[in-house]
C-alpha cells in the first residue's frame, strides 16, 4: 500500500470537494425549472381534487385554467388584500406570522353547472411531519363541498390513510358553523362519528395522532376565515 503524504491527502480532498460541488450545483440549476413545474402542477391537482375534479399531471394545467376561475387573498378580518397572488402564497410561512398579518388565499372554482365553490388551503402537523390540504365550501360558506389532504411522511396504512377517498369523502356535506354563526369546525372522532352528526367524521384506527393533528389543522386554519365566511355567505 502506497504511503501518501499529508499534503497529498489535503490537496486530494480539496480538489474532490470542489469538483463534486460544481457538478451538483450545475445539475441542481439545470433541473430546477422542471422540478418547480412539477410542484406547481401538483398544487393545481390538489386544488382541483378539493373541488372534486380528477386530473392527471398532463391535463392539470388546462383543467385548472378552466375550473378555477378566480383567486384572491383575504386577511383574518375578512378584508380582501389587493395586489397579492394567491397561488404563490406559502401557508407554512404565513402561519408563522402573527394572525393579523397573515395573507389567506381563497380559490374560487366554477363547476360545470355554474355554481361556485370556495377553496381554502390548510396546513398543520401530523405524527412525523407536516400535513396539508384543501377544503372547498359551497356558496353558503358553511357546507364542505370537497376535501383533499396530503402529508409528507405519515405511516403508510395508518396516518397516511388521510389521503384516501374513504377518509376524505365523508367530509362532503359537513358544516363548520353550528346554528349558522358559532364556529365549531369539523371534529375527527376516535371510535367513529355518530350517524348524522353534521360536524364530525370518523378518525383512523391506528392513526390517532395524525387524526388529532388533522382536526387541529382544520380548526386553526378555518377559524382564520371565519369573519370572511360570515360576511360573504350567500
Amino acid at each position: 500500500m502506497r504511503n501518501f503524504s499529508n499534503t497529498y491527502i489535503y490537496t486530494f480532498s480539496v480538489i474532490m470537494v470542489v469538483i463534486v460541488a460544481l457538478l451538483l450545483s450545475l445539475a441542481a440549476m439545470q433541473l430546477k425549472p422542471f422540478q418547480d413545474k412539477n410542484i406547481e402542477i401538483e398544487k393545481k391537482q390538489n386544488i382541483l381534487a378539493s373541488v372534486r375534479i380528477n386530473s392527471t399531471p398532463k391535463d392539470a394545467q388546462d383543467l385548472y385554467a378552466k375550473y378555477i376561475t378566480e383567486s384572491f387573498v383575504v386577511n383574518n378580518i375578512g378584508e380582501k388584500l389587493e395586489g397579492e397572488d394567491a397561488f404563490t402564497i406559502d401557508m407554512k410561512s404565513e402561519l408563522s406570522k402573527p394572525a393579523a398579518e397573515r395573507k389567506l388565499p381563497v380559490f374560487v372554482g366554477t363547476l360545470e353547472n355554474g355554481s361556485k365553490t370556495y377553496v381554502t388551503p390548510l396546513r398543520g402537523k401530523g405524527l412525523w411531519g407536516p400535513i396539508w390540504g384543501y377544503v372547498s365550501f359551497e356558496p353558503d360558506m358553511n357546507t364542505i363541498y370537497g376535501a383533499l389532504f396530503d402529508h409528507q411522511g405519515e405511516t403508510p396504512g395508518l396516518g397516511a390513510e388521510i389521503t384516501m377517498d374513504w377518509f376524505e369523502d365523508p367530509f362532503r356535506g359537513k358544516t363548520i358553523f353550528k346554528d349558522s354563526t358559532e364556529f365549531v369546525s369539523v371534529k375527527v372522532l376516535k371510535g367513529g362519528a355518530p350517524d348524522g352528526d353534521p360536524h364530525a367524521v370518523d378518525a383512523i384506527s391506528g392513526g390517532t395522532i395524525t387524526s388529532k393533528g388533522l382536526e387541529a389543522m382544520l380548526d386553526s386554519c378555518l377559524v382564520q376565515y371565519k369573519t370572511y365566511f360570515l360576511s360573504n355567505r350567500q
Partner: protein
C-alpha cells in the same frame, strides 16, 4: 480479463451471491419500497445506476485514493450520485420520487453500495467493477420486484396500478390481504425466498 469471467461477475449476484438473499444487504429498503411494483422498479433502477457508476468512478480513482480517507472519498462519491439520481427523479418522474421520498436518500447508506466498493472496486479495474456494480444492482432489483409483485397483487389486487383481480372475486367475498401492505410481510416474503433458494442450491447451506 476473459469475457467468461466478466459474465460471471454479472450473473453471480443474480443467484448464488445475491446481495439481498445471500449477502443479506439492503434489507431495510427492500421492506420499505415494495408495497407497490412501480416504486420497487424505480428503486431497483436507481440502485443499479448508483452501484454501477460509483463502482466505476471509485475503481478508476482507486490508485490515487489515499487509504486513510478512502471511506470518506467513497461516501462523497456515493452521496453525489444519489443526489443526482434524486434530482433527476424529481424533475422527470415526480410522482415516483414522492413515493420513494426518503428512501432515495437512504441509497447512500445502502450496504450493497459501500460493500461492493470496499470488496470489489477498490481492488479491481474499472470495467469489471462496472459489471460487478450492475450485477449486484440487478440482483437487488430482482428481489425487490419479486417481493413487490406478490405484495401488490395480494395486498391491493393490482399490478403497476392496473386492476388484476377481477371485481367478481371481490363480489364473491374475496378481500385484499391487509397484512401484505405491512413491512412485516416483506420480511417474511424475503425469508421465504431465502428458504426456497437454499433448499434448491445446497451449496448455500452452512456446514454443520
Amino acid at each position: 480479463m476473459s469475457s467468461n469471467k466478466n459474465s460471471k461477475l454479472l450473473s453471480n449476484p443474480f443467484n448464488l451471491e445475491n446481495p439481498v438473499t445471500v449477502q443479506i444487504l439492503g434489507i431495510c429498503s427492500a421492506l420499505a419500497v415494495t408495497v407497490k411494483l412501480k416504486p420497487a422498479i424505480v428503486m431497483g433502477l436507481s440502485v443499479i445506476v448508483v452501484t454501477a457508476f460509483s463502482n466505476l468512478v471509485i475503481s478508476w480513482m482507486r490508485n490515487s485514493i489515499p487509504p486513510r480517507i478512502r471511506i470518506i472519498v467513497q461516501l462523497v462519491i456515493v452521496a453525489s450520485m444519489v443526489i443526482l439520481v434524486d434530482q433527476v427523479l424529481r424533475a422527470f418522474v415526480y410522482d415516483v420520487s414522492k413515493q420513494l421520498s426518503v428512501y432515495v436518500g437512504l441509497i447512500i447508506t445502502n450496504c450493497i453500495i459501500m460493500g461492493r466498493l470496499e470488496a470489489f472496486a477498490m481492488g479491481n479495474k474499472p470495467w469489471p467493477s462496472l459489471i460487478d456494480g450492475i450485477g449486484n444492482g440487478i440482483g437487488y432489483a430482482m428481489i425487490l420486484i419479486v417481493v413487490a409483485f406478490i405484495r401488490e397483487l395480494f395486498g391491493s389486487g393490482t399490478l403497476l396500478g392496473y386492476k388484476i383481480i377481477p371485481q367478481a372475486f371481490f363480489d364473491a367475498g374475496y378481500v385484499n390481504n391487509g397484512m401484505m401492505i405491512m413491512p412485516t410481510m416483506a420480511l417474511i416474503l424475503v425469508g421465504v425466498i431465502i428458504w426456497i433458494q437454499r433448499s434448491y442450491f445446497k451449496q448455500l447451506n452452512e456446514k454443520e
